[in-house]
Symmetry: C2
């Protein structure tokens, strides 16, 4: 089989190459943020979270983000960036660390883009017991869902759309036809376009990959994330993920957006919440 036909795997995929870090000194990494993971010129917030999480995974004594909280300071652009990561505490089960991503002004001064705190553990070491009342919402089959390029007005094609498989539940894309449901919901099948299976890092991409829930409330505009916290709850099984996002409370121009990610074995593998701001256009 020619190499180009080999399916992408964890460790050998475009997502892995796009998040790869060059170690400069202990805890300091370089990366050239690629154009390919942008939306309207800015790097996707979930992609950036994965970059920071990868730096922490290389720095801390434990491999997987159990909980990671990111505060977004300014929009990241394609080009060179530096990630600094440090251990705050190393415990037997969990390690806690901090990381920041910086870019450069024309005069060479550093600007901090994102700062994160995270506690890492080893998901593979956890006992199998699950006691959950959480159930995935109903999703139509993937083949009945629609991609960004299926929607009217898809002249707005974004580079990231070539790199993720995002197939939206038609019930939550009425806004693209001027008929938002008003519920503040978005649901989609999610994967990486090259077929790479999910892992904890790609789950961080999944939680911030869907159209803003406020579109489903009939609001248009830019909805920048102020802060996003994700809990990775289990190693995801192979196969496409289902992501459900909801907003219950939009008040004073701010809203929460909750995401849940379900794997192919119906396991709740990630939960996230972000505080975002509506900049109406």
């Amino acid at each position: 089989m020619p190499e180009t036909a080999a399916p992408a795997t964890v460790g050998n995929s475009e997502f892995d190459r796009a998040t790869a870090l060059t170690p400069h000194e202990p805890g300091v990494y370089g990366i050239d943020l690629p154009e390919g993971w942008t939306i309207f010129g800015a790097l996707n917030g979930g992609y950036l979270l994965a970059v920071l999480a990868r730096a922490l995974g290389e720095t801390l004594a434990h491999p997987h983000p159990f909980t990671i909280s990111a505060h977004y300071l300014s929009a990241s652009r394609p080009g060179p960036a530096t990630v600094r990561a440090e251990t705050i505490r190393t415990g037997r089960t969990l390690s806690t660390g901090q990381a920041s991503l910086f870019q450069y002004e024309a005069d060479g001064t550093e600007t901090e883009r994102i700062r994160v705190l995270a506690s890492y553990g080893d998901l593979a070491s956890l006992p199998d017991d699950v006691r959950t009342t959480a159930k995935p919402p109903a999703f139509p089959p993937l083949a009945h869902c629609v991609g960004p390029d299926d929607a009217p007005g898809s002249a707005d094609h974004q580079p990231i759309a070539d790199r993720v498989l995002l197939k939206l539940d038609p019930a939550t894309v009425g806004w693209a036809l001027g008929q938002p449901s008003g519920k503040g919901e978005s649901r989609a099948w999610f994967g990486l376009a090259d077929g790479r299976d999910a892992d904890p890092l790609s789950l961080l991409l999944a939680v911030d990959a869907l159209p803003p829930t406020v579109f489903d409330m009939g609001i248009k505009g830019w909805v920048p994330t102020i802060e996003l916290t994700a809990h990775i709850r289990a190693l995801p099984a192979p196969g496409p993920l289902r992501v459900s996002t909801t907003t219950r409370n939009l008040a004073g121009g701010f809203l929460e957006e909750d995401a849940e990610v379900w794997d192919s074995e119906n396991r709740l593998v990630a939960q996230s919440r972000q505080l975002a701001r509506v900049m109406q256009s």
Copy 2:
């Protein structure tokens, strides 16, 4: 009216005195963590979050925590502590900062207890528009709810119980009688015992004041918080608060616990989520 009969007010109450900081130098504050806010010998996590939030409020250009994420590193004990707070970024609408609380080993070395990242704004400046589908769950009248000392086994009286008004929905305290509902829910009326009204700082106390939701799932033990993120969404109206906490997913010994806080005008004033760990006894 004698001074002892005057109702406590924001700025003049036991909670305000217990969170008061002594400035040592810019961004560095001293505090003597009081015995009165402990539970089983450790300072309450919500109280500590309020201390750190107060330090950030004195350091940052904006007054109120819109979103604050705390990673708990080690248990805080009554006694001297130092809080260090710094500004990361000052914007027009929001400022972002970081703070840590430290205590001391016998040999004088510092141990970090908690680290937080937070974005602050001015809740009083937000427009009044609210579009919410969130509704408070049904709460019995306060007079029909039960306090920690009404429960059997109240020999476990904790100092913090004298400082907060906590009246639990009887439907969520079956665990105290050996009859947990299994739902993973806890609901309570909440206030400060001396009658001080709620403010953004006391909302941080409210989100971590109820018995662990896992008690309602029939699990006993210590449930330490790994990380807690709270969003303060509005200035609370005077009067007691209603706090509802839920856990949907307990897996591999870890769980999320979500809290919602409602004010007397039925407004959703705070949302929080924590990742906690069950240490079964």
